[in-house]
């Protein structure tokens, strides 16, 4: 029997950069539009081309104004024209969960108050670089060097963009490296090896994104190296950018 995998909305997790906003939000949407360019001919009246896609994302929930909570986190993007990274994990962030990740710009922030109600906050974002539908590749607390579990994200070909977003959410540490390794068969016969261009060094909480356009093998894993610290909570997602 094939089990259908419907997901309740309460499983959803939303991260903006390294900040988990899930505790303040109760609604989110990812909108992908692909404008069509009709090219009807005498023999094919329905022919059309698809133009480059555009994305817009929305989040909504409760306004919370204490230090480092959602109002401050979103307001920091007002007037900011640099990349910020929005993770929409509709089925959660457990390793191997499907996620959507993109660089965004803030287009709208609304604070609302009405008699008899709690204060609300909503925000809108426009995609500012490639969206990927990928996997949560590694998630949880790390305490030293080591290899994560390999996951099959599918091989990519030369010219296809493969992206990784690394988040260090909290921790007590001096520094450590996160890097991506690849294998064609999860290390069964083809040993895992570093993917050039997919490595970051962290010496503080934060977020970083790498993109490569080289061919990559299907299985990837996250490796912690050069560990110097006590512990850190990390979340790493990866996937092929929709082109």
């Amino acid at each position: 029997m094939v089990r259908l995998a419907k997901v309740r909305a309460s499983a959803t997790r939303i991260y903006l950069d390294a900040f988990d906003l899930s505790g303040s939000l109760n609604t989110t949407a990812l909108n992908i539009d692909q404008p069509e360019i009709p090219i009807p001919t005498f023999t094919d009246g329905q022919a059309a081309l698809i133009d480059n896609y555009r994305t817009a994302s929305e989040v909504a929930g409760f306004g919370e104004f204490a230090d480092n909570l959602i109002d401050e986190r979103i307001h920091a993007l007002v007037g900011d024209d640099t990349d910020h990274y929005l993770l929409q994990a509709f089925s959660g962030i457990a390793e191997n969960a499907v996620i959507y990740e993109q660089a965004v710009r803030l287009t709208r922030k609304i604070n609302s108050a009405a008699v008899g109600a709690v204060q609300l906050l909503s925000a809108g974002f426009v995609g500012a670089s490639g969206l990927y539908r990928g996997l949560s590749l590694r998630q949880g607390t790390i305490t030293g060097n080591g290899n994560g579990t390999g996951r099959n994200l599918g091989a990519t070909v030369a010219g296809q963009v493969f992206a990784v977003t690394y988040r260090v959410i909290s921790g007590t540490f001096v520094s450590f490296d996160l890097k991506i390794q690849e294998s064609s068969d999860d290390g069964a016969g083809d040993a895992y090896a570093d993917v050039a261009g997919l490595a970051q060094t962290f010496n503080a909480v934060g977020v970083a994104r790498d993109e490569v356009v080289i061919a990559t093998e299907a299985w990837k894993r996250v490796v912690v190296a050069n560990w110097n610290g006590t512990s850190a909570v990390i979340l790493v997602t990866a996937g092929a950018v929709a082109a």
Binding site: G63, L69, S129
Partner: protein, 136 residues
């Protein structure tokens, strides 16, 4: 985490406290996007233009001196606008109590009355200076 009830909000225009005349208020910030996608981009590329901000208010109209109608009508024809302060927690600026300050001009002001209900107003203010989120 501190969810905030709406009744905590303070809002003033030109130094006049307005929260006693407001039933709904939205602080709106919009950042127009400019599509800069080119033929070589894998996926969209956008940049952000300068933001705009403002407030939508509505409530029961109060025609007493210094109340909502006097305060809002004073902005009709006033191209300099008035200082606005939006305090979502109702407290002075602090680490956990942001105060949003700016200057705004009156964009629209509507008063309505219908049998069986109170005389009500709606107003839209448009920011005419930078919006500052003060936490100290």
């Amino acid at each position: 985490m501190a969810k905030e009830r709406s009744s905590n909000v303070n809002f003033s225009i030109g130094g006049t406290a307005m929260e006693c005349y407001i039933r709904n208020i939205n602080q709106n910030i919009d950042q127009p996007e400019i599509d800069v996608t080119t033929l070589c981009d894998a996926g969209p590329r956008s940049i952000i233009d300068n933001y705009r901000h403002g407030y939508d208010l509505d409530g029961f109209a109060d025609f007493a001196g210094g109340a909502s109608d006097a305060t809002l009508f004073a902005l009709v024809g006033d191209e300099d606008g008035a200082a606005t302060v939006f305090q979502p927690t109702g407290a002075a600026a602090g680490a956990d109590d942001p105060n949003y300050t700016s200057t705004a001009i009156l964009s629209s002001y509507n008063i309505s009355a219908s049998v069986g209900s109170m005389v009500s107003y709606r107003a839209t203010l448009r920011g005419s200076a930078a919006l500052v989120r003060a936490v100290a």
